[in-house]
């Protein structure tokens, strides 16, 4: 074999390796999910969805955890979406190219890299203790809001950047103010991109476990939250609690709860990808 042939063969070999790697993660994920479905699918029934936690695996259910997750999702959305979009608009359209602007920028990129458990420590000291919210839904939502803020800000800025300058200039030329331009032109035009980012950020919040454990959310809460000041549990914490128990019945419960959790996060991701594609197609400047 001459050199050229050897090189061609190496090239082909790497191509095979590349295909192998690309599918490795996905195949493993599929295997994992398959194993989980096999363990847990039969456990999902009306009783499982509507029961309170229990010491007996066959009586236990995910009602409180599911309601807790819904509360957290709702409150986090209310807090994080306006703050995140507001901050992004400020950074993109209002802040001059000053030292402060670049400080804000480094800061946000840093916050995006802070481990989620550190946000838990922040929430524990500030929201739970200093502001005396206790380990409540409110404290949990505020903590998660700070956690997903950088994601929403980055996505919103990207979406705003993608709107062509001409639109903005046309609006200014008509005599519109900065905010009128923002509200009537730029925000509607970047809506799809912002929505994608927001949904992805919220799906991250639904799956978060560590910061909520740190602020003191419990696995065993015998009631569903009825106000933001109530104690709560969420699905991931319930799963974590069940995984750490020795009885086999709880492992089955954990698998069943994981199926529900994955259903939620995958649906949210699918919606996000759908909006991204739809928006990219429609807006062809």
């Amino acid at each position: 074999m001459n050199n050229a042939k050897i090189n061609k063969a190496k090239d082909k070999a790497f191509q095979m390796w590349g295909i192998f790697c690309t599918f490795l993660g996905l195949v493993l994920l599929a295997v994992f999910i398959g194993a989980i479905i096999k363990d847990g699918i039969l456990r999902i029934d009306w009783q499982f969805l509507t029961s309170l936690p229990s010491r007996k695996p066959e009586n236990a259910g995910i009602l409180t955890a599911m309601m807790g997750s819904l509360w957290i999702l709702g409150l986090t959305a209310i807090v994080a979406i306006p703050l995140g979009i507001g901050a992004a608009i400020y950074l993109e359209e209002y802040s001059k190219k000053s030292r402060f602007a670049s400080l804000l920028e480094i800061n946000i990129s840093n916050l995006a890299g802070v481990p989620s458990i550190i946000y838990g420590l922040l929430g524990l000291e500030i929201f739970v203790r200093l502001l005396k919210f206790g380990p409540s839904v409110l404290a949990g939502s505020f903590t998660l809001s700070l956690l997903i803020l950088p994601i929403i800000i980055v996505a919103t800025r990207e979406a705003i950047k993608a709107v062509p300058k001409t639109i903005k200039e046309a609006s200014f030329a008509m005599g519109a103010t900065k905010w009128q331009t923002m509200w009537n032109q730029i925000l509607p035009a970047s809506f799809g991109g912002i929505l994608t980012g927001v949904i992805l950020a919220l799906s991250r919040a639904v799956g978060e476990t560590a910061p909520l454990i740190v602020i003191g959310a419990l696995a065993y809460v015998p009631f569903t939250p009825s106000s933001p000041m109530d104690e709560f549990s969420v699905l991931p914490i319930q799963i974590f609690n069940w995984v750490s128990r020795p009885q086999h019945g709880f492992v089955i419960n954990a698998a069943a709860a994981i199926i529900i959790l994955l259903l939620v996060t995958f649906t949210m991701n699918a919606i996000a990808v759908y909006f991204r594609n739809k928006w990219q197609k429609k807006v062809n400047w």
Binding site: T22, P150, P236
Partner: protein, 292 residues
């Protein structure tokens, strides 16, 4: 009237942006205040040199080294899995694969990062560990190996997506010059595009490292809760993050020394990820416009 409204809106938006600064200040203040009190009771020399971490026992030792070694061990295993696979995927998608394939596979790969980490923890403990035990007989039920490997799978998309962006940004002319010299796609990748995109690839690895160091639930579930100074991947260990979870689950009283250990551990974690994040930020800023 209109001007007043514009003024108020600008101030409100500014406050939104200010929250991000306040968050950083809050994190630093909270961690350092509790840590300062902690270090007034425990000598910082002991903290970094003692080889035992037993704050919850009667005979207390406060050496962070066992937690650090556990964190490093799982992180290194994760990177050893994620770097070769993630980089190979990036090279393959950029230089080899058909265009349409790349577009449709990317959202699927992102899915790997969208799975909640508690789910990965379950995988590691219930699927990967029993499987590895068939190959490695002495493997303990909780170990760094399976936790690290599963973490590696989770961070593949981090390595792939940033490396891919960096490879994509390499100008076509460089690539075509290499093909013009008669190079194969593989030779072009490793001799031209990968070196040209090296800063971006390094950034992706640093960010993946920082992500792995801060990862909590996988190690809390699958790696065990036994802080020990070892690099043996087959025995139970404990990471910094898993320790914080362990204490948070117990009933440690607020204001005690045990309670403050989680902030001492937290600030150690924060310093490591902070340094890594800033290195990556500056590499990115510095090399961003090299080809424009």
């Amino acid at each position: 009237m209109l001007r007043a409204k514009e003024y108020i809106i600008e101030k409100v938006l500014f406050l939104c942006a200010l929250i991000t600064i306040l968050t950083t200040i809050g994190i630093i203040l909270v961690l350092s205040i509790e840590a300062v009190i902690f270090f007034s009771e425990v000598s910082i020399i002991d903290f970094v040199t003692d080889t035992q971490w037993t704050p919850l026992f009667t005979k207390k030792h406060f050496g962070i080294l066992p937690l650090l070694s556990g964190t490093m061990l799982t992180t290194l295993i994760a990177i050893a899995v994620a770097l070769p696979i993630g980089l190979s995927i990036a090279i393959y998608l950029n230089e080899f694969s058909p265009k349409g394939f790349r577009k449709s596979i990317k959202p699927l790969l992102e899915l790997l990062a969208a799975v909640p980490t508690v789910v990965y923890g379950f995988f590691a403990l219930m699927v990967v560990t029993p499987f590895l035990q068939m190959i490695i007989p002495g493997l303990s039920g909780f170990n760094a190996l399976s936790a690290g490997m599963v973490m590696g799978i989770m961070i593949i998309p981090f390595v792939t997506s940033l490396s891919e962006d960096a490879l994509f940004a390499v100008p076509k002319s460089l690539r075509e010059a290499s093909y013009g010299m008669g190079s194969t796609r593989l030779q072009t990748s490793f001799n031209v595009t990968v070196p040209a995109a090296s800063s971006g690839i390094i950034v992706s690895v640093i960010l993946a490292l920082s992500r792995a160091i801060g990862e909590t639930m996988i190690v809390a579930i699958a790696a065990g809760q036994q802080p020990r100074l070892t690099f043996d991947p087959t025995v139970p260990i404990e990471t910094i993050t898993a320790y914080i979870v362990q204490v948070s689950l117990g009933d440690v009283q607020h204001g005690t020394l045990e309670y403050r250990t989680i902030f001492a551990a937290g600030i150690t974690l924060f310093i490591f990820t902070f340094i890594l994040n800033n290195i990556s930020f500056f590499i990115r800023k510095k090399y961003q416009q090299r080809y424009e």
